[in-house]
Amino acid sequence: MRRQRWFTPWLLIAPAVVWLLVFNLWPSINTVVLAFTDAKPLGGGQFTGLANAERMLDDEQLSYALINCIVYLLVCLPLLTLLPLLIAVLAEKNLPGITFFRTAFYTPVIASAVVVALIWNWLLDDRGAINGIAQQLSLLQKPLPFLTDRWLLLLSAISLTVWKGLGYYMIIYLSALGNVRRELHEAAAIDGAGAVRRFVSVTIPGVRNTMLLVTVLITVSAMRIFSELYVLAGPTGGPGGRDMSMVMLIQLYSRGFTGNLGYASALSVLLFLITIGPMLLLLRFNRRTAES
């Protein structure tokens, strides 16, 4: 058995490392440095120590944002890990016209934010489709305030996230399903396993790696939730800013000529710290299951 030459891996990984350093790590280090300053886009940048961290402690909007991100994560994670997989299994078979369906399922991912906003407002408005139908069927006396109540608005944004995520994670799963060997399916079928059994005992183990990656991606994107809430509630995050997310908050402070880059950077670092936790947990979980 021939060993690889020591530099081969580094040769393969060189472009990635260059990009990692120049376009990802370097700006990240900058962000960390800025977190300890009062920097502004057009000047400033005095070292202020932990002033930004102190400011976080009595930032009411930050506590809203943290709670919202956690709720978001808890609801989105199971839904977006499983639903796209089910759809991928459904769309995997080569039926006539399947290309059309697969492409169509992907459209929410690429639909422009303006269109998405129009559609969802049309659905969820107090005079919108859902309230209209519910009232006509006498299910509701008064319209439900989907877009103004704190929790309903969050729920609406979660639905929007799931809707947009279906196609995205579906195509990741589809490529993984191609690797699940069909002999396993056939063997299981011969053993008399039903569809549900085969899904649990063949499909899921077959895409385990991908599933783990998808959960990491969902975790990261749930903590970084932005456009869904922005589209439904606008930049202010609903009455009192109670539907702010971390990224919306970062955006609020970093935007424009007079943005407070120091505080926005400090918030970014906080976001980084709280996201890295669940990710490490996931990876540890992965290692343990891989060993068993």
Binding site: R2, Q4, W6, T8, P9, W10, L12, I13, P15, A16, W19, L20, F23, P27, S28, N30, T31, L90, A91, E92, K93, N94, L95, T99, F101, T103, A104, F105, Y106, T107, P108, I110, A111, S112, V115, V116, L166, I171, I172, L174, S175, A176, L177, G178, N179, R181, R182, H185, N209, L213, V216, V220, R224, F226, V247, I250, S254, S268, F272, M279
Partner: protein
């Protein structure tokens, strides 16, 4: 497959279809509506009563849409090529080769996913400018040319290859390159096409970054150029819808061409059941 199961599958497919495809049709419909048709009414008619392609020609009259599309295409090609190359190599090395520092590189890649990308936009601009690529299409393409997410996707794909296949190649005396080309690549076509799609869409749809990098409107990409349809004094939603449809079509083409690679295993014979 029994006819009953087939019918059931189509029923489910259609259900998902209704949920996902609505906005696309809405936009298509708006882009086909004539000037005499109200698009803001209580109950907008789903089908245009007076369908016309005039909005599409107006996009072409108002902005040099072909020039913008070519610019977008150049950026997209660079980004797709860079990711297909860089992410595949790195993904393979991370998944299949043992070397000192592999864990560190992997952890750093994972960590960079967490910081909101928008946060670093100005410092990225300074980097691109100091490399001499301000106001060029290369400068637009550069930061996304090797995306960290795509490396992770390729790594997962290489990891999914059963290790027996790889081991036999090692026993045969294949070196790393040969293993990549003979065993690796044929087994990751599916994920490679996913990466291509993500890279293409990412490059094609990006708005803020090209706007910041480019100064000269002649260099604008399609997403930036289409903003001109939304002017200070007038904006016609029909023409804007037509513009977004024009931007949408290349994505559909790329998707339709590449999607068959997801089904490597299926093409050689239908799964029973």
């Amino acid at each position: 497959m029994s006819p009953r199961e087939k019918a059931g599958r189509y029923l489910l497919l259609c259900l998902v279809l209704v949920i996902t495809v609505g906005p696309f049709l809405w936009q298509l419909s708006t882009s086909l509506k004539g000037l005499s048709e109200d698009i803001y009414t209580d109950t907008p008619s789903f089908l245009p009563t007076d369908p016309t392609l005039a909005n599409y020609t107006r996009v072409g009259e108002q902005i040099p849409v072909w020039d913008y599309a070519v610019n977008s295409l150049i950026v997209a090609v660079i980004v797709v090529a860079g990711n297909a190359f860089g992410a595949t190599l790195a993904g393979f090395a991370l998944a299949r080769l043992r070397f000192r520092g592999v864990k560190l590189v992997f952890a750093l890649i994972l960590a960079t996913l967490v910081l909101p990308g928008e946060v670093t936009i100005i410092s990225q601009y300074v980097t691109v400018r100091s490399l001499g690529f301000a106001d060029t299409l290369i400068g637009v393409a550069l930061p996304g040319t090797v995306a960290m997410l795509n490396i992770l996707l390729m790594r997962a794909a290489f990891q999914a290859i059963p290790s027996e296949m790889d081991d036999s190649a090692v026993v045969d005396g294949a070196n790393a390159w040969q293993r990549l080309i003979r065993v690796g690549l044929p087994n990751v076509k599916g994920m490679l096409s996913v990466v291509t799609i993500f890279a293409f869409i990412g490059a094609w749809d990006d708005f803020l970054w090209p706007l910041i990098v480019l100064n000269d409107p002649d260099n604008y990409t399609l997403t930036v150029g289409l903003q001109y349809l939304d002017g200070t004094f007038t904006a016609n939603p029909r023409v804007i819808a037509a513009g977004t449809m024009i931007a949408f079509i290349p994505i559909v083409i790329v998707f339709a061409v590449l999607q068959r690679f997801f089904f490597r295993g299926v093409a050689s014979g239908a799964i029973k059941g």
